[in-house]
């Protein structure tokens, strides 16, 4: 059943059926009713790909995620999805599993016009490549970003939030504060490290190079790096960790080493994923507005797609230090 068949049954032209569906106000009430009756009777559904082809827009956007199983990104994704669906866009999921090759390959969907735009939740590609792409297609970065890149970006200020997290530990009286970073190739890791260093320096605390350990973004890696830190001749009394899942690994390592958190070791995580209030001790962490980041990113993408002007390109969302048991002194 196609549009011309419906047209015949309703004694109108295909053009009129199309109008009834897409611009009902351009059709007389009487005709509209007659056409709608036929549509309902035969349960006609327009062939969307034909429409996409004709209008040259797919009403599909692509979201590229570094890890779909992450509690953090799935919340951002939900924010994106809500706004997308509310605006009649579908979402194609691009899970890269932190593989830059896969990140790269998803760009083809844009080049081949399979999607109208793209939200990158991971941005490991060349700056020049991204810039070129953004000049040609609607593109928004969220969570991850690229230094000095002139592309719409939504994120928190990772440097200042990491500084805030570290200063919280300093205020608790800690001086031997270690930091377990994420993969240093990722800018988020470098920015959080920067914030840690700023806090240490501005409080006249020495930064022991051995106190900075690079981890991977998972429980086990942080567990191991923590054991390493705890076996130093003067182990730290507090650790700021790249994210919450890793912070749980750190706490587990402390427990397994016979230490109590926060008494023997204070720990601060990052992201405020749901588990941070389930895990014991509850995690002190930096809350990122995950849903809002996704929402904002999708709103920007819609503006780009619709050719609306953007007032500004960098959107810094509000984070918040949330103090819980893993650093609280009773």
């Amino acid at each position: 059943m196609k549009m011309s068949d419906v047209a015949k049954l309703a004694n109108v032209s295909a053009a009129t059926v199309s109008r009834v569906l897409s611009h009902p106000d351009k059709v007389s009430a009487e005709t509209r009713q007659r056409v709608m009756d036929v549509i309902n009777k035969v349960n006609y559904k327009p062939h969307i790909v034909a429409r996409q082809f004709r209008t040259q827009e797919t009403k599909i956007i692509l979201v590229v995620v570094p890890d779909i199983t992450s509690a953090f990104f799935s919340q951002v994704l939900r924010g994106i999805e809500h706004i997308a669906v509310n605006n009649d866009y579908q979402v194609i999921l691009g899970d890269t599993e932190n593989d830059i090759e896969r990140e790269n390959s998803y760009i083809n969907l844009l080049l081949q016009k399979q999607v109208d735009g793209m939200v990158l939740l991971t941005a490991r590609l060349d700056k020049s490549k991204l810039e070129e792409l953004a000049s040609e297609f609607p593109l928004v970065l969220a969570c991850e970003y690229v230094d000095g890149l002139n592309v719409p970006t939504v994120s928190i200020d990772n440097v200042s939030s990491a500084r805030k997290a570290t200063e919280h530990l300093i205020q608790l009286g800690h001086t031997k504060i270690a930091h377990i970073t994420g993969p240093i190739s990722v800018i988020l890791s470098r920015d959080r490290l920067k914030g840690y260093k700023q806090a240490m320096i501005s409080n006249d605390l020495e930064i022991d190079p051995a106190y900075i350990q690079e981890g991977e973004v998972n429980f086990e890696s942080s567990y191991n790096q923590t054991l390493k830190l705890l076996s130093l001749s003067t182990p730290p009394t507090a650790i700021f960790v790249f994210n919450d899942e890793m912070a749980m690994g750190t706490i587990k390592a402390a427990k397994d080493s016979g230490l109590t958190v926060p008494d023997d070791l204070a720990v601060v995580g990052f992201d405020n994923i749901k588990m941070s209030t389930v895990f014991e001790p509850n995690l002190t962490t930096i809350d990122q507005p995950k849903y809002e980041i996704g929402k904002k990113a999708m709103e920007l993408l819609l503006k780009l797609i619709n050719g609306e002007p953007l007032k500004k390109k960098k959107f810094v969302m509000k984070d918040e230090l949330i103090i819980r048991e893993s650093s609280r002194i009773e």
Copy 2:
């Protein structure tokens, strides 16, 4: 830049360019090379929607998930995605957030031919509606299923695994065993409840109606239901809980009530999500082969799409009882 432009530059017809891209063996090596040179030089990318329109297949499948932020479903999704991407399919994400209306609306993507097939990870719709849909479109159910429905389905045997979980508690000597179910409108909840009852009955244990509490699929709900159970005049000494996240809520409630797990209360969860080994005490649980379920479901969907015959329709994957601290007697 379109195909006919490439054709002109290479001094061939558009048909030949198309063949170079889609059936290179049907073109002479020389011509193929000449065309490829032009394609690379001008960085031509075919317009995928035009191809979709012409071939009447989109190479996109839809996955409908009840909750994208769930640690369980994101693993299933990853299995689906891997097989999809390996077969040049893209995945549109349909997050219903347990809303049957949204589940229903995603069906339009199938009716409007925007996707070649669909994997349902939630199946709350009418049996007849699903059957009708499956007769017309490639459709696979996974995780959730519908009783007596003749549609390809991948899942574990929830009844027997729930029985196994309950019997584990019985073997530990427990007789006062409660069960916190999921929403009873969902078949998974009913099947796990059935398994619980079977285990109790076949071991001559009384099933106290007050020992069966319906929960929602989240930490808080199970926390509250557990408090209710623990305040009974003869509280249970063991609880089998619908899933791991809920089991964590149960354990938290026990702790907050001054009980020790597993000594005062043994707890068994379901799914074996990653957090079940991070949470303390580690959860005894039923492992579901999440990734493999997704993989299998997508493999079946591909067969349906390609018109290959299915040897059977019901695929029961292997689950496993994993005994950890939350029920272990030292």
